[in-house]
């Protein structure tokens, strides 16, 4: 009980601040805002940062179009195009459909480090760029397809992508549900043997019993654990970012970090769906005879997007770290708490997938027609 002391309040303030900043940063609309179907009234507009971001996006998007127009006559305008694409990407990622929600929830649900968060964000942004370029290259350049056909293609890709998010969420929910029950079980056991309860260090504890209490005792709640949260169990995975490491899918692997396959599944689920803006810009560039400039612009846009998504993902991981510190001791109710948060985040991934799939959570529209 002594851990729940004064420091908690300061941390609460920090958390609240982080949440506030994020809320402003990301647009301030709640999920509910997306439920406003056509004709239905929507919640009032949010002023301040949200509308500023919205206005900036629109301005940059139009400037982007202008620089493409200019580039047709004046090659030097291309540098401007690249710069604008980058800034546009940063702002644009604040809009829907860039996987911030899914990636952040995924990171919270898993014991992920911020580094992995950043890598996942970049990978999914690059993948989004690649899908957009592939669709326009194949459909418009090679097949001479119409906008409708391209829109239909995106629609199919979109459904597959949302389906994958549902699958990802369902699996996370299953794994985290077991983790939560395990922690709960442990808590009850531990209540029975109260004397042993200092055996585990924060974040290192695994309900599945992977971590041996004996080698867990170091790296206490410093929050600067070089391995990131809970990485001790698989020492060899410490510095392995998503692509590096592929040992067999052991059951305990599902509960912790590492496992590039899981990272990859999140990247594919999120990155499969291209951004409508990128597709329109690419086709416009094609019409101007500057397709390659469109491709460059798309990649730079993706880079900008990755920066925003990566920052939000980092904040999400940070929020969880704070949450874990708030939870205090790693085992017992603290463990239950952390597993509970993970379970909640897993449920969110599933919920996002279902909402996206059923059209209740608006993603970006592909086009009018």
């Amino acid at each position: 009980m002594k851990r729940i002391g004064n420091g908690r309040y300061i941390r609460h303030i920090v958390t609240a601040g982080a949440v506030l900043v994020l809320t402003l940063l990301a647009g301030g609309h709640t999920v509910q805002a997306q439920f406003g179907a056509f004709g239905g009234p929507r919640p009032a507009a949010v002023g301040g940062v949200a509308s500023w971001i919205l206005a900036e996006q629109a301005t940059f998007y139009r400037t982007l179009a202008n620089s493409l127009r200019l580039a047709k006559r004046d090659g030097s305008a291309l540098w401007g195009l690249i710069g604008i694409s980058f800034v546009y990407g940063i702002f644009h990622a604040a809009g829907p459909g860039h996987g911030k929600a899914v990636i952040s929830s995924y990171l919270i649900a898993n014991e992920e480090t911020w580094r992995r968060g950043v890598v996942l964000s970049f990978a999914s942004a690059v993948m989004q760029s690649i899908t957009a370029i592939t669709i326009v290259s194949v459909a418009a350049v090679l097949l001479g397809a119409t906008a409708k056909l391209m829109g239909d293609t995106v629609r199919i890709v979109e459904i597959v992508s949302y389906g994958l998010i549902v699958a990802l969420g369902a699996r996370l929910l299953w794994v985290k549900g077991r983790g939560f029950l395990g922690a709960l079980h442990e808590f009850k056991n531990q209540s029975a043997h109260a004397g042993e309860r200092h055996a585990h260090a924060l974040g290192d504890h695994r309900p599945d019993g992977c971590c041996h209490p004996a080698h867990v005792h170091h790296h206490h709640v410093s929050g600067r654990d070089p391995h990131g949260s809970g990485a001790n169990c698989h020492g060899e995975e410490l510095d392995v970012l998503p692509w590096g490491h592929a040992h067999g899918p052991e059951p305990q692997q599902l509960a912790g970090p590492g496992g590039w396959r899981r990272g990859l599944s999140a990247v594919v689920a999120v990155g499969l769906r291209p951004c409508s803006g990128a597709i329109i810009v690419l086709v416009f560039a094609l019409a101007q005879g500057l397709f390659w400039a469109g491709i460059a612009s798309t990649f730079v846009m993706g880079l900008g997007t990755a920066i925003t998504v990566g920052s939000i993902a980092t904040l999400a991981v940070g929020a969880k770290t704070v949450a874990k510190q708030l939870a205090g001791r790693p085992v017992g109710y603290g463990g239950v708490l952390v597993r509970g948060v993970e379970l909640g985040a897993a449920a969110l991934v599933l919920a996002f997938g279902i909402l996206l799939l059923t059209g209740y959570m608006a993603s970006e529209r592909m086009g009018l027609f």
């Binding site: 056509f38 009032a44 829907p96 929600a101 119409t146 391209m150 329109i280 009018l368 027609f369």
Partner: protein
């Protein structure tokens, strides 16, 4: 005792953490889209001999970027020039798809918003301006039943703000064969900074529901008053 307090603290703490996480994620999840399509429009209100409004003749000109996107893959005899016939299939797709969005056109008749005010368009076609490289969609949106109203409000907007509608600088609205005493005017949205703004119009013309809903902030309003 400690054990008991611990149990008691658990639900409160869990709730707090859960709320924090949900807020963080929800905040990052749900920002709004910005426009990708720009439409400049003119609207004619058409009246019959009895003085009832029968429909809207709408002319929507898209921005060049979206026009380029929409015309991809359409075969043209002369490169870069599309005839009305060549654009016929696209016009059909446009009008069919617009149905799903209620043609972005909403009628409020004497203060009552009527969701089923309009029937499907009776005639429609696309034209292409090769110089400005822009597409223009022409269509007539008939009222299901001719409307005789003291105050008729037409709003044209996309609630999701994917499409940004704006009135043309000149002749944005016109009354065709309307009774002499009818007057019409437009009210543009506060689209400079996307902030909600109190309407400056005479209050008697603005039904109480006018302030509900964000889409309204982006709505282009046409108001027609007949005695």
């Amino acid at each position: 005792m400690t054990r008991l307090r611990l149990w008691l603290a658990l639900p409160v703490l869990s709730m707090r953490l859960a709320v924090t996480v949900v807020l963080v994620v929800a905040a990052s999840a749900t920002a709004q889209a910005h426009p990708h399509v720009w439409v400049t429009m003119t609207t004619d209100l058409v009246y019959d001999a009895s003085g009832a409004a029968t429909g809207l003749r709408q002319v929507w000109t898209f921005d060049d970027m979206y026009s380029a996107f929409a015309t991809t893959g359409i075969k043209a005899k002369i490169n870069g020039q599309f005839t009305r016939d060549e654009l016929e299939p696209l016009a059909k797709i446009n009008v069919d798809s617009l149905k799903d969005y209620d043609y972005f056109t909403y009628a409020t008749i004497d203060g009552k918003r009527n969701k089923k005010a309009f029937a499907d368009p009776v005639d429609y076609w696309l034209t292409y301006d090769p110089k400005a490289t822009v597409l223009t969609l022409h269509f007539t949106l008939p009222f299901r039943r001719p409307v005789k109203a003291k105050v008729l409000k037409i709003e044209i907007y996309d609630p999701e703000f994917f499409v940004d509608f704006e009135f043309a600088d000149k002749n944005a609205i016109k009354l065709e064969d309307a009774p002499q005493q009818c007057a019409a005017w437009t009210d543009k949205p506060a689209d400079q900074n996307f902030l909600p703004q109190q309407q400056s119009l005479n209050k008697s013309f603005v039904p109480s529901e006018a302030f509900i809903g964000m889409g309204m902030d982006f709505a282009n309003k046409i108001l027609v008053q007949c005695p």
